[in-house]
């Protein structure tokens, strides 16, 4: 009997070892330990055996049953380990599927980056409408009455108003600065706000000149502040755009709506300030004008320049984006060319 059991065990384990699919596990299990299995038959037909025999056969069958279970379990683990969800090999070098292809315009992206930076300094975002009047675009900003920018060669005047003056002569705004007076008239001082927007100049276009382009202006009005605080705004912008601290310098510059006015240069990032073609060999690149608000501008906004002061900076967004990515033609921004726009994720 024991030999018989031994051969059942041997055959059974052999059978288990020959299993190749997980589905076979249960079939073999049934065959070896199920109701109709030889092993169970022996276990249920032990009445003819002696007590001693019963004991030894009983022990043996239990042992065999356990060894089958162990072997099946081991086999199952082995089979699962060797399984794959795929029935054929996978070419992992094929590119992954593409994600949604939409994107914000690179100018918008830049603008939002700057908005975030300025929001952290407590600046509001303001926007003025595209169409303004000579009063707000020039008169309020201390432009001389015969300043050349007022001519139609420079500014897009609206038909039917071009021969009028002041509030009645309307134009596509030539700069954002006029909006500063609108904001201050509506909200008063103190104030700190940025106003991004598009401006328009009647120019001949080429790779560096556009008729419609974007500016980003920031303004602070407060009491008793010094003009050198303007440096902080400049550093904020450049740090945000380029991701690190950028050396800047301020130098003399003239704008009707500032006194004093200054030009802000940043260290040339191409040569690190040593001088190269990009920076015309002087190590610096002009990035933005700025300055202390001219008292006449504050007066236009109904503020007393004896009490209030402040400063502007105005940055050309197109130029900044061009510097950020090395874009070489400003006209691409209005080209609506998706080949270009899809490059900016």
């Amino acid at each position: 009997m024991l030999e018989k059991l031994e051969s059942i065990k041997e055959e059974g384990l052999k059978k288990i070892s020959e299993i190749t699919k997980t589905e076979e596990l249960d079939i073999v299990r049934k065959e070896l330990t199920g109701k109709n299995s030889e092993l169970v038959f022996i276990m249920t037909n032990m009445s003819s055996l002696s007590v001693e025999e019963k004991k030894s056969v009983g022990m043996k069958t239990t042992e065999i049953k356990a060894s089958f279970e162990n072997a099946l379990k081991e086999k199952e683990e082995k089979l699962i380990d060797s399984m794959s969800v795929l029935d054929t090999p996978l070419d992992t070098t094929i590119p992954g599927s593409s994600v949604q292809t939409g994107s914000l315009h690179p100018i918008t992206q830049m603008c939002y980056d700057l908005n975030d930076a300025f929001a952290s300094l407590g600046f509001e975002v303001y926007s003025e409408n595209d169409i303004s009047s000579e009063k707000f675009a020039f008169d309020n900003l201390n432009f001389a009455p015969d300043h050349p920018a007022r001519q139609s060669m420079d500014t897009f005047w609206l038909q039917g108003t071009e021969e009028k003056s002041g509030t009645e002569r309307l134009c596509l705004r030539p700069h954002l600065t006029g909006g500063s007076v609108r904001y201050l008239m509506a909200h008063g001082a103190p104030a700190r706000f940025v106003y991004p927007g598009r401006v328009y100049r009647n120019e001949t276009t080429d790779a560096r000149h556009e008729r419609a382009f974007f500016q980003y202006e920031a303004l602070i009005v407060d009491k008793d502040i010094s003009f050198s605080s303007g440096m902080v705004m400049i550093q904020t912008i450049l740090e945000k755009v380029f991701g690190r601290k950028i050396n800047v310098r301020m130098r003399e510059g003239f704008f009707p709506f500032t006194e004093p006015g200054y030009e802000i240069d940043m260290e040339c990032l191409v040569c690190g300030g040593k001088g190269c073609k990009v920076c015309n060999h002087n190590g610096w690149i002009e990035v933005m004008p700025g300055g202390v608000i001219h008292p006449n501008v504050l007066k236009s906004a109904g503020l007393d320049p004896e009490i209030w002061t402040g400063f502007y900076i105005n940055i050309g967004l197109d130029r900044l984006v061009m510097m950020r990515y090395g874009v070489d033609d400003v006209r691409l921004f209005h080209s609506t060319d998706l080949r270009f726009l899809k490059e900016f994720k």
Binding site: E252, H294, R339
Partner: protein, 807 residues
């Protein structure tokens, strides 16, 4: 503007340790932007004086000669030359190997090499003036004439740059940085700035004061509002000749061309002090009288180049008794010009107002050097400066000349601006305390008069800054700040007052919308110009009489400003179809229409502005595009946290297909449209082989929620049962009606699919929907579920004749 450092050195001693680069840097930071620095001697590198010892025939060429030439070395060298005026003993210009020349005065610069010419070796080149930047110094009579230096004071081996006074450094200054500074349009002004920057004394200008008891030259200023001062001096015993080297070099490095000494003196004075002057041939001034008057209508002036200018009553002219001589301050006429026969001149030194010059100058494409300076608004005392310098030059260059008559009209003099600046104001605005001595010194170096009392600087601005540039205390502060250098003021951090967080619902909403379209819906953002090609405006039938137009548009077809973003979108679509056949784009910006709108004041009436949001979906399957577009708008409220938008099918937009459009609503107000582009519009806009779904919404109407508006529902305890149901109905039955009939009977109803085609009878369609069922207190049994489904079919059958679709 070009600034010669040699010229500057006549007026100040530049610090020994400052290189031209340092000077350019200091000027750039404090005064004007220096764009480039040029060492003018480099052009003459390796070009020297040589002496021809022997001229021999060239064995292989008739037109060439072999010149044995002494170049100051131990042995003479052999140079082959084709010059027509070669002779033994002649002093000539020799370009040694390595020098750069214009071959025959043309083309690009080429480097001279030791070479063989027709078999004979040639060490360098004997040059004509046009070959080596010497034309102005030694004008040649013909092409083959080489420069003959025999009568010039020079020696073999001398550098040419020394002989023509071109060992100079020239700074090129950006004219834009000078627009507000009339005083800087001459070397003396720049020298004054440098004297203030380096705190070194400014030397006085050479001058010869006039004896005012001379016979009077008759001058009449008719329009005193346009001419504030006019001086005319008649000088005789002069003649046309070439100017000395130093004067020619000064003019060249100052950016002008030497002509003859009479003209050169006037130009030199302008480049020295910024005061334009003019010399008339006095024999051509009829009646010995100069009248400064407005032109008569259609009066003509013949210019030097024989072109005729038709004058207007706005033009200020210099006239004699017969007629116009010159357009004041802008262009001289032909009649009075200096000729080879000129022996006496009337020297004009005058002050014309900026606006007069600007107006008259507009007719010419290029501004003259004089015009540019007058436009900056010169002070009337500069006339004296210019006159005295000019007279001293006449004396120097024409020792025998005689001043025979003098006339002056001086209707109004520039007044110096008086400005008080308190120390307190300076300290606060500059952000630090500047010692009184420093402030006083800086201002005095710039030409201010300064006295101090009771903490106030009483300043009188220099006259050359008093024509508008300096008029208020902020201007004085600006002068102090820039002279001390902006860099010397530390950046002061701003103090932030934490009063409240910046919270701008509309600003944030606009950003969420853009990000929703770009990031969730796969649109690319575009920007179009506000002026749109009329072709696209007409394509969708916009009434242009309501549109705003430009007076001087970039092109005739770009006159009308947009009242809708769709025309621009059509153009963008047709452009991109060259490269793509499936894409999505959006634009969110302003549109305009005629109307009345007051943004800031009642006096100012602006056209009406609205902000529009327009999107286009381009692809093959029109139906699919329509439903995607609808989905984008349906969900926009949810994802951007604003009041949701709805639809009605009521009024067809002009551009839309007759079957596929919707009006977009917000709280029952129509604020936009959605639809497929009609075949007609696509034809007109040249949009081919694709379909386009478009939406346009007046986004100014959007109502942002102040915060995120997600709602939380507790998760169901019992599972929801989902069942699909396919029915067949008449084509005319809408989803809206089906939904209405059964919505209340289920816990959720979802549209799955509409299908027409195989197995579906003509005139019918199949609708597949999904329902979700649940019970509050127990799990639904199969039986209960089937019962609900049966009742749904029954209802639909009764209400709209629906039958169950067989699998």
């Amino acid at each position: 503007m070009k600034v010669s450092l040699n010229w500057i050195k006549k007026y100040i001693d530049l610090p020994k340790d400052k290189t031209p680069k340092d000077i350019a840097y200091d000027l750039t930071l404090r005064t004007v932007e220096v764009e480039s620095i040029e060492d003018t001697s480099l052009k003459y590198d390796k070009i020297i004086v040589g002496k021809i010892l022997e001229v021999k025939k060239h064995p292989n060429a008739d037109t060439l000669r072999i010149c044995i030439t002494d170049i100051g070395r131990e042995n003479p060298v052999q140079i082959v030359c084709g010059g027509s005026n070669l002779y033994e003993g002649e002093l000539v210009v020799v370009c040694l190997p390595g020098a750069k020349v214009y071959w025959h005065g043309e083309g690009e610069l080429v480097e001279i090499k030791e070479t063989k010419m027709r078999g004979e070796s040639s060490y360098g080149m004997i040059c004509a003036s046009s070959e080596v930047f010497l034309d102005s110094f030694f004008p040649a009579k013909d092409e083959s004439e080489i420069v003959d230096l025999t009568n010039i004071d020079c020696h073999v081996g001398d550098k040419i740059s020394d002989i023509v006074c071109m060992n100079d450094t020239v700074l090129e200054i950006d004219n834009k940085s000078l627009t507000n500074r009339p005083d800087l349009w001459g070397h003396y002004g720049i020298a004054r700035e440098l004297s203030a920057i380096y705190d070194t004394p400014l030397k006085p200008l050479p001058k010869l004061e006039i004896d005012k008891s001379l016979p009077k030259y008759d001058i009449k200023v008719e329009d005193e509002s346009k001419c504030k001062r006019y001086v005319g001096v008649e000088i005789s015993n002069v003649y046309v000749k070439e100017s000395p080297m130093w004067l020619k070099a000064a003019l060249i490095n100052g950016g002008m061309r030497p002509i003859n000494t009479l003209v050169d003196i006037t130009n030199y004075v302008m480049l020295a002090v910024g005061q334009p002057t003019h010399a008339f041939d006095s024999t051509h001034v009829s009646g010995n009288k100069i009248i400064v008057r407005n032109a008569y209508k259609d009066e003509e002036l013949l210019l030097l180049d024989n072109t005729k200018v038709i004058l207007t009553e706005d033009d200020l002219i210099i006239s004699d008794e017969e007629g116009p001589l010159a357009l004041a301050g802008i262009r001289g006429g032909k009649k009075d010009s200096i000729l080879d026969t000129t022996t006496s001149v009337v020297l004009e030194v005058a002050n014309f107002t900026a606006s007069t010059i600007r107006k008259s100058g507009k007719r010419f494409e290029e501004k003259t050097d004089a015009g540019i300076r007058y436009e900056k608004n010169l002070d009337t005392e500069k006339v004296t400066e210019g006159l005295n310098l000019a007279l001293s030059l006449f004396k120097e260059l024409y020792p025998d000349s005689k001043i025979v008559a003098y006339g002056e009209e001086y209707p109004s003099a520039t007044e110096r601006a008086k400005i008080d600046v308190s120390k307190e104001f300076l300290n606060v605005r500059l952000g630090k305390e500047i010692p009184e001595e420093t402030v006083t010194k800086v201002l005095k170096n710039l030409g201010y008069d300064v006295t101090v009392s009771d903490g106030v600087y009483h300043t009188i601005a220099p006259i050359w800054r008093s024509t508008g540039d300096v008029s208020i205390k902020d201007d004085v502060m600006g002068d102090i700040a820039r002279l001390l250098s902006f860099e010397s003021f530390e950046a002061k951090p701003l103090t932030i007052k934490f009063e409240h967080a910046v919270h701008q619902d509309n600003v944030l909403l606009e950003r969420r919308i853009r990000e929703y379209l770009a990031n969730r819906c796969g649109f690319n953002e575009i920007f179009t110009y506000p002026w749109i090609d009329i072709k696209y405006i007409n394509a969708i039938g916009i009434d242009t009489s309501k549109c705003v137009s430009l007076a001087t548009p970039p092109a005739p077809e770009l006159k009308v400003l947009r009242s809708s973003l769709i025309p621009g979108m059509l153009e963008a679509i047709s452009k991109n179809l060259r490269y793509f056949n499936e894409f999505k784009m959006f634009e969110m910006t302003e549109v305009y229409e005629k109307g009345e709108y007051h943004e800031s004041t009642e006096e100012e009436t602006l056209p009406i502005h609205k902000k529009y949001l327009t999107g286009a979906l381009v692809g093959k399957d029109a139906k699919e595009l329509f439903y995607i577009a609808k989905g984008v708008i349906e969900n926009i409220g949810k994802y951007t946290h604003m009041e949701s938008l709805g639809f009605i099918h009521e009024e067809k937009p002009s551009w839309a297909d007759k079957n596929a459009y919707l009006n977009i609503t917000l709280n029952n107000e129509k604020i936009g449209e959605l639809g497929l582009l009609s075949v007609k519009v696509m034809n007109e806009a040249k949009i081919k082989r694709v379909n386009v779904a478009i939406f346009e919404i007046n986004s100014s109407k959007f109502i942002p929620f102040p915060s995120r508006t997600n709602t939380y529902k507790s998760l169901p305890i019992l599972p929801l049962v989902e069942k699909d149901l396919s029915i067949i109905v008449d084509e005319s039955i809408t989803w809206e009606s089906i939904s209405k009939y059964i919505k209340s009977k289920v816990s959720e109803l979802i549209f799955v699919e509409e299908y027409k085609g195989e197995k579906i009878p003509i005139g019918k369609k199949s609708i597949t929907l999904k329902v979700k069922l649940k019970s509050e207190d127990k799990t639904l049994t199969m039986e209960e579920i089937n019962k609900v489904m049966e009742s749904l079919v029954k209802t639909l059958n009764k209400m709209c004749g629906a039958i169950l679709r067989e699998e």
